[in-house]
Symmetry: C2
Subunit: 302 residues, 2 copies
């Protein structure tokens, strides 16, 4: 990636993050008939400053096929709601028992376990509310919103993210071979990354060919991101990561570096990224952000 490209991507990601952060804040009530503690807990986790990768991919996929980012923003936010709920529940004492996330205390450390469980439940539920409310997406045909709701539910459900989380819980302390590790990644993180791209594309009226190419791109970058995360966990700077590095190894977790070594993992991620960019061959310059995001995966430091 050239310096100029890196600069363009940095600006693009910052602009997109600002757009998404503002929309997210607008989708969590400040007041209402519901209890304020719930909204405080939801806001705390939702507005904790994540990379917003999933919503950014959703907007970028919509634009790559000629759609407008603004019109898919509610669904993009729904994807971040689901990502946030999954982090809250993953951090619980009965799960990974993490005290810190993104450099801040985890939800259950601040609000208690019961509020952490419930705010996660609420974010998951409200994600589908964001997708299904027609008044939030007036320019989009209900058939498409419904198709996206079904795909998102499948990607987040028992054959997707939750299924992957169960595999992850069951894998602790055991050895996995490469096939099992890839399957775990595909379910736990890959499915939601893939559906983020597909949702944006479907909402923007992608053709079958376009959808298939974006899916190919999504599968490859999903796996590349996981490999890069694993490498960062071995090599990253704890101050930039917002959590301790080396934590995977300390837990005896099987990762791509632990199976293949760091260098072979990096080469593997590089090949996936090359394939992801190649999958976008038929797209014009409106897919440049997706191309740059793919190339950036191995160069990020947090």
């Amino acid at each position: 990636m050239t310096r100029n490209e890196a600069l363009l991507l940095k600006e693009y990601l910052a602009e997109r993050k600002a757009l998404i952060d503002e929309a997210l804040a607008g989708f969590v009530p400040g007041e209402g008939i519901g209890p304020p503690d719930l909204f405080r807990a939801a806001r705390y986790s939702l507005l904790a400053g994540g990379k917003r990768l999933r919503p950014i991919l959703c907007l970028a996929a919509a634009e790559a096929v000629g759609g407008e980012a603004q019109s898919v923003l509610p669904v993009a936010c729904a994807l971040e709601f689901i990502h946030t709920y999954s982090l809250i529940h993953d951090d619980l004492p009965a799960m990974d028992n993490d005290d810190y996330r993104r450099g801040r205390l985890t939800s259950h450390k601040v609000f208690g376990e019961n509020m952490a469980i419930l705010s996660g439940d609420a974010l998951l539920t409200e994600a589908f509310h964001l997708i299904a409310r027609r008044e939030l997406s007036p320019a989009i045909a209900p058939e498409r919103l419904l198709a996206v709701a079904a795909e998102v539910a499948a990607a987040a459900g028992w054959f997707g993210m939750v299924g992957g989380q169960v595999l992850d819980v069951q894998a602790e302390g055991r050895t996995l071979d490469r096939e099992a590790l890839e399957r775990l990644q595909r379910l736990k993180t890959g499915a939601m990354i893939l559906v983020s791209l597909r949702a944006g594309a479907i909402l923007a009226g992608a053709s079958e060919l376009q959808l298939s190419a974006l899916s190919d791109y999504g599968k490859r970058i999903g796996l590349a991101f996981q490999i890069a995360d694993d490498i960062l966990n071995v090599e990253g700077d704890p101050a930039l990561m917002g959590k301790g590095t080396g934590s995977d190894a300390a837990r005896g977790k099987v990762t791509f570096p632990s199976l293949l070594g760091v260098e072979a993992s990096r080469a593997e991620a590089g090949a996936l990224i090359g394939g992801a960019v190649a999958a976008l061959g038929a797209f014009d310059e409106r897919a440049d952000p997706l191309r740059r995001i793919a190339r950036y995966i191995l160069e990020r430091d947090s």
Copy 2:
């Protein structure tokens, strides 16, 4: 309620429960790419023999406006998925910390806390999958499925069931006045009962007037059910209830009997039921099951 009517209702409820139980079992995978433990946990809670009130109301509302029960069965099952997830999460140690539910060990006692959290998450997510998959509801227009997805999400979310659960957690050990108790009930249990009726009616093409009448009915029976539950908690037979009676009082929980006394609570529920039946005045005999269900609320013993 005459003896003949009670017999008709008993047969009706048994037939409906069998229909729903069979459909529910078909919607939880036995095998697949996901982890079997997750499905075992989901099946354990889902097929634990509940009354299936919410799906029964959904089917009955569809039939009351001239629709077919069979065509709304996937959405009816989605309502039971959501009800079941809420019970699993409510029973967790960080919440009500219950060891028994419906006479059996709770999910976290059998499968561990992590699997209980995840199977609840999966059931909630898969509920929206059941609603949004068009191939499961081929006779229903996508606009209607989308509207139902939005209403169900709202009823289950932070201005609905989860919000009510937060109020309930916060209410323990405090006193509530009657208004606060009704608000808690409306959110925690009322919203999902109401949306069960509305979902069936919307899917079956109800008119605005019909929808409004069924909503009126739903609000009243929702509150009546809660009052009757509270009375059963004071007076019921533990063997029939599947859990200890008197548990509300032992926890210092404010209930309708604790605020109004048992007799005034019974009178209040009776008035609500009368109002609920009156709201169905414009419906023909196809609404008889709904009328009988309303009258049955105060006569049930578990």
